[in-house]
């Protein structure tokens, strides 16, 4: 090979071009499924699916022998915090769906039954809001690590 440097430069350019093209640093095109939701249960649903997608990606990173051990441990710590938050979110959204169903079913009942169902729905909605807010930070932390690794 007479021009190893030229070959190396071409190799670098060809390797980095697709990776750089997929880099979305500072871009607003990063998909945020939560932004499409219009109700609390839809937000929770979007957050759970987005979290699952992030963990699936994190699994590929951890399985990659080229990933440094310290980074794998950081991913592990972030996942151990985020998954319980997702479980709490699932419990809250289940309770909200039940309360909403009870409220709908109570529409033909007497005033006190409707009032009880409305109170229960309000409490469930408040808890769901808290659970969504509580899950967002740990999930965002894991997502940040995954994006940092993937570019």
């Amino acid at each position: 090979m007479r021009h190893p440097l030229r070959v190396l430069a071409l190799a670098c350019a060809l390797t980095l071009t697709p990776s750089c093209a997929s880099l979305q640093l500072g871009s607003t095109t990063i998909e945020n499924p939560l932004a499409a939701a219009q109700t609390m249960d839809q937000r929770a649903y979007a957050l759970l699916h987005a979290y699952a997608a992030i963990v699936e990606e994190a699994t590929d990173i951890v399985a990659d022998p080229a990933t440094p051990q310290a980074f794998k441990r950081a991913l592990g710590q972030a996942e151990r915090v985020a998954t319980p938050a997702a479980e709490t979110l699932q419990i809250a959204v289940s309770a909200y769906i039940r309360a909403r169903s009870d409220f709908d079913a109570a529409s033909g009942a007497n005033q006190s039954v409707i009032q009880r169902a409305a109170t229960a729905l309000s409490v469930a909605a408040h808890r769901l809001n808290e659970a969504v807010a509580g899950a967002q930070a740990p999930i965002a932390e894991l997502e940040g690590l995954v994006r940092a690794r993937r570019g």
Binding site: P18, S22, Q24, A36, A52, E56, E57, Q69, G76
Partner: protein
């Protein structure tokens, strides 16, 4: 991105077809360069497809949620169970992969 890579790979294949037209003394070197380019494109494609993977999954989730929002439909218990099952499966897979990586 993957389309661009595919186009580059097709271009490379087309260039390879002209290899016999290259003068004898330079043919081996040209073949060597094309071989390196093919390997590099393949590696770059792998990196890009990983980056595209998460984006594609998030686009799919967003599309589903947008459809729900447009139809003004509420999340059913079954849909919620499916989402949580996906989280649990992903978490189990992740922890297994992490454990395997730590024992290596």
């Amino acid at each position: 991105m993957l389309n661009l890579l595919l186009q580059l790979q097709l271009l490379l294949a087309a260039l390879s077809a002209f290899l016999p037209l290259v003068p004898e003394e330079h043919r081996a070197r040209a073949g060597e360069i094309l071989d390196i380019v093919a390997k590099v494109l393949s590696a770059g494609g792998s990196i890009a497809s990983n980056a595209d993977d998460l984006a594609a999954k998030l686009v799919a989730v967003r599309a589903e949620v947008e459809a729900m929002a447009t139809a003004k439909s509420a999340v059913s218990a079954e849909q919620l169970d499916a989402a949580m099952n996906r989280v649990r499966a992903a978490s189990t897979g992740f922890r297994a992969a992490l454990e395997a990586a730590e024992t290596q």
